[in-house]
């Protein structure tokens, strides 16, 4: 049974479509892994087995009736606990929202559901998506499946851990300053921070309106491509979402990288990097070059100015939207969050 949990997202969807596995069997397989490892990982904040099983049975019935919904039909998923689903818990990883049930559903959740996916829980995360490690004082720290005392990276800690531990086929994370990229790297899964505005943020807990991004953490690039094709695009409910048409990301993954130029920064990102990390990056670049990509070393412009701005943008924007709770319930935040936001109130508007 647990072998089904080893399938990639794309394979799991194909198995349901071809009648090789039922959606209930996929859910059971993930659940078996959850039961075995989640007590150590603490990758979830809440689980809804009953609701998920109902959705799985409905999906299986639809397969029998040839009423296939779309390219994720019958695939169970769980997301970072900040994607609103009307009537379901969405804690945002915080004591301040431990009982919060939104009245709306995020556009990205609606799009995944329209493609046939359903959710079985909410995943652990840094409180209000505001730390890079995976620690959480209210719901407990999330642990790295490869080495439990190690961090998962954050803020999408449960997304990285649950996908890596084969408890989840794919998860949405969010990235304001590395919150998809960090847990993807630390947990050994594939994550994409899409281009700003590519994916609707309607119904997603905000942190910084200038820097927030929605994106997937999966087991493969193909899985990420499938999710991106489904969730990207203009959303009238998010006025900042891009007007551009959405390409078929899966079709672009043919392994041929001829003509693609890959920029590799020679400064800033690699300052003080550990040797094994540099080695792994160079090996990855060799793979890309062998497939025809042109690897170009570049010096990024304006990094000092960008660093100065980044140091204030997200925390000023976070401070703005958290002001009322900072007045009335500051002690309910983790110390690292309230202390990080506090100076943001002293930074003048012209900055």
């Amino acid at each position: 049974m647990t072998e089904l949990a080893d399938l990639t997202l794309v394979e799991a969807a194909a198995a349901v479509r071809l009648g090789q596995a039922s959606s209930v069997e996929l859910l059971d397989a993930l659940w078996a892994n959850l039961k075995a490892v989640n007590p150590q990982l603490n990758a979830t904040i809440w689980l809804d087995r009953e609701g998920a099983e109902m959705a799985a049975r409905q999906a299986d019935r639809a397969v029998r009736e040839k009423a296939w919904l779309g390219p994720l039909h019958g695939v169970p998923m769980a997301h970072k606990d900040m994607y609103y689903q009307a009537g379901k818990l969405s804690t945002c990883g915080s004591a301040l929202r431990k009982d919060f049930s939104p009245a709306i559903t995020a556009t990205v959740i609606e799009k995944l559901a329209a493609a046939g996916a359903y959710t079985f829980g909410g995943l652990n995360m840094a409180e209000f998506a505001q730390n890079p490690t995976g620690h959480n004082k209210t719901f407990g720290d999330c642990h790295n499946p490869w080495n439990l005392p190690y961090i998962t990276g954050g803020s999408s800690s449960g997304s990285g851990a649950s996908v890596a531990a084969r408890c989840n086929y794919a998860a949405l994370g969010s990235d304001t300053g590395g919150s998809i990229r960090l847990p993807a790297a630390a947990c050994g899964v594939t994550g994409i921070k899409p281009t700003q505005t590519r994916v609707s943020r309607y119904g997603v807990m905000p942190l910084s309106f200038s820097c927030d991004n929605v994106g997937p953490l999966c087991r493969t690039a193909l899985d990420c491509a499938r999710i991106m094709t489904l969730i990207a695009g203009r959303d009238p409910r998010d006025s900042t979402s891009a007007q551009l048409p959405v390409p078929d990301y899966e079709a672009a993954l043919d392994g041929d990288l001829r003509g693609l130029r890959v920029g590799v920064p020679t400064t800033y990102f690699l300052d003080d990097t550990d040797a094994p990390v540099v080695r792994a990056m160079e090996q990855a670049l060799e793979v890309l070059a062998a497939r025809g990509a042109v690897v170009q070393r570049i010096t990024l412009p304006l990094m000092d100015a960008i660093s100065a701005c980044v140091s204030i943008i997200s925390r000023v924007e976070a401070a703005t939207i958290h002001a009322q709770w900072m007045r009335t319930r500051a002690a309910d935040y983790g110390v690292h969050i309230s202390s990080r936001m506090y100076p943001g109130y002293a930074i003048p508007g012209p900055y």
């Binding site: 010096t299 000092d304 100015a305 110390v335 309230s338 100076p343 002293a346 900055y351």
Partner: protein, 65 residues
């Protein structure tokens, strides 16, 4: 108490009605000195009509190298 920090705390309290929630918050507020210094270093780098045009120009220059 450091004068700079005291002024920062007064400003925040006056404009937002928010008090420092803990000592780490005070330390981070005192660190605004470093933030201010980073912006001082950037003064003069952007002219009246430069932004965001100068960023686009830098990107183009990099592309053409």
């Amino acid at each position: 108490m450091d004068t700079f920090l005291a002024e920062i705390e007064q400003t925040i309290a006056r404009w937002h009605g928010i008090a420092a929630p803990n000592d780490p918050a005070r330390r981070m507020a005192a660190d605004l000195v470093a933030t201010i210094r980073a912006f001082e270093d950037q003064r003069g780098a952007l002219a009246f009509e430069d932004e965001p045009a100068s960023f686009e120009a830098a990107l183009l220059a990099t592309r053409e190298e």
